[in-house]
């Protein structure tokens, strides 16, 4: 319209902030959030899918495992060591001063009450993920009578606690429960 002053965005703003700056920031932020939302599914698809997660429980019949024996079960496509400890192995584990351990835990903390002879751990070395020896018949168990990972020399005792070598933690105890006297459900 003639005579009317041209309204400029910079008018009246001595600090140099223009309305356009607000629009710029708002539009860019909006586009940024939108891009983030769009990327989310592309990242989420990487996580374990529902059918992979459905492998999360495994039932094992332990009735055939004699004292002193152990078996290797599979849970989440990983080995699980299930061992029926001998009384002397339990005694050896309990004789250790927990305070001297790298990852201090008693055997009782690693087993279920009243079932301290059933030592159930992941068969995955906490160093770099190898499968330690000692569960199979005739395999070397290392100097503490538990498990031994020959790859990098980690030695575990009869409670599968780390005693020597590079591994930082005891063999991990998975979540499990005894669904009957002879069946254990892992996961």
């Amino acid at each position: 319209m003639p005579g009317e002053p041209v309204v400029d965005a910079a008018d009246g703003h001595a600090d140099g902030v223009r309305r356009r700056d607000f629009i710029n920031i708002a539009a860019t932020s909006f586009a940024g959030v939108g891009a983030g939302v769009a990327v989310a599914p592309l990242l989420m698809q990487m996580a374990p899918s529902a059918d992979v997660q459905a492998l999360s429980t495994t039932e094992v019949d332990i009735s055939k495992i004699q004292p002193g024996q152990g078996i290797k079960a599979v849970w989440r496509k990983q080995p699980v060591f299930i061992r029926n400890l001998l009384p002397k192995e339990i005694a050896a584990a309990n004789a250790v001063d927990v305070a001297t351990l790298r990852d201090p835990q008693t055997l009782a903390e690693r087993t279920k009450p009243g079932k301290t002879n059933w030592l159930i751990t992941l068969g995955v070395c906490t160093h770099l993920g190898c499968v330690p020896l000692g569960i199979g018949e005739g395999e070397t168990r290392g100097e503490y009578g538990g498990y031994f990972c020959p790859c990098h020399g980690s030695v575990y005792d009869t409670a599968a606690r780390i005693r020597k070598g590079p591994a930082p933690k005891n063999l991990q105890v998975p979540e499990y429960k005894f669904t009957s006297a002879t069946v254990v459900q892992i996961g």
């Binding site: 586009a31 939108g34 592309l42 698809q45 992979v52």
Partner: protein, 439 residues
Amino acid sequence: MSFAWAKPYEPKSPFTKWVDERLPLPRLVYGAIGGGYPVPRNLNYFWNFGVLAGLALVIQIITGIVLAMHYYSYAAGAFDSVERIMRDVNAGWVIRYVHQNGASFFFAVIYIHIFRGLFYGSYKAPREMVWMLGVVIYLLMMATAFMGYVLPWGQMSYWGAQVITGFFSAIPLIGEPLRIFLLGGYAPDQAALTRFFSLHYLLPFVIAGVVILHIWALHIPGSSNPTGVDVKDEKDTLPFHPFYTAKDGFGMGVALIIFSIFVFFLPFSLGHPDNYIEANPLVTPAHIVPEWYFWPFYAILRSFTVDFILPAKLWGVLAMFSAVLLLFFLTWLDRSPIRSTSYRPVYKIFFWILVADVILLGYVGQAHITPVNVALGQVAAAYYFLHFLVILPLVSKFEKPLQLPNSITESVLHGEDKESAPFGLATTGGSTTAPAAAE
């Protein structure tokens, strides 16, 4: 690249200077979509669709790479792997819906892009190469879309593969052996599925390569515009950034909203329910139809019902391919010196008849075969060829065009010669002063 007044790239920081001397990639981007690419100031929203097509290609490549991480190209497991993507893979459903509807989005955008090119004469000198590369992209898209459609190994996609590869058997003498060679079997099976998957993954990158050539060829003469009048001086253009980045950004937002409506609320509206039945080589669906973007060509294929010198089947296949390949020769079929159909009163009428004709072909392409539909298809198919081979050359010869504007700027200003120049550009009218100086 295009015009003398294009602002050259000037690296500001020592780092960008260092990069520019070694790999001038930022310079390339600046010259392609930055301030270094002057664009006619009068582009309308039809010029949005090139960018949207690029967006669609990027969406398809990204979602496709992700889907390939979960898909098995194994005939006995392909269908199930797609169902697993829908049910078990985290966010797999949305990624697949985006990819599946993204194909339709891509074609919708491309059809509007082609329509824009036809209406505004983008195939004319000096942009013939841009146009022909565009037709190459379109052909590659058709091949890619077809092979991608086969991958879920549903009933419709399996029989689609059967029908499309059956085209080759129309070739005299070598047809049937060629088809068996291309399929790696007597019917679509494991060999065909694996090679389709491999090529479906490969071709988008070939498309991306041709897209780069398409844009390269475009940037030599510069973008066309709705008047079809050549750019005469700096006043006729604006730097791509920020003017067209902002406009394209807005258009992209609107397009993504429409796309999202399909992905989230109507994911199956463009597909066929029969593709949710696993492929069965022993039972044909009652009615085989391709995806909507192939309907017009499918109608042309089906229009040939009588043997005439050559078998009807061969005529159909030849006509269908010619219908696309005709587009290569548009530059020479249309001899009119006027680019924009806005200034061509007679051709404009025929242009809209062609649009209606293609829509009619599309309808016939998905309709059941009845005597009426076949007749409709035959008339529409005949008109399609009549338009390009007879009407277009004749009209461009005899038509008297309307008066073109003297310049792009004149067409924009509608006689208001005292309009301020765009922000940041020199003005010849002297009607603007820098806002800072006014204080």
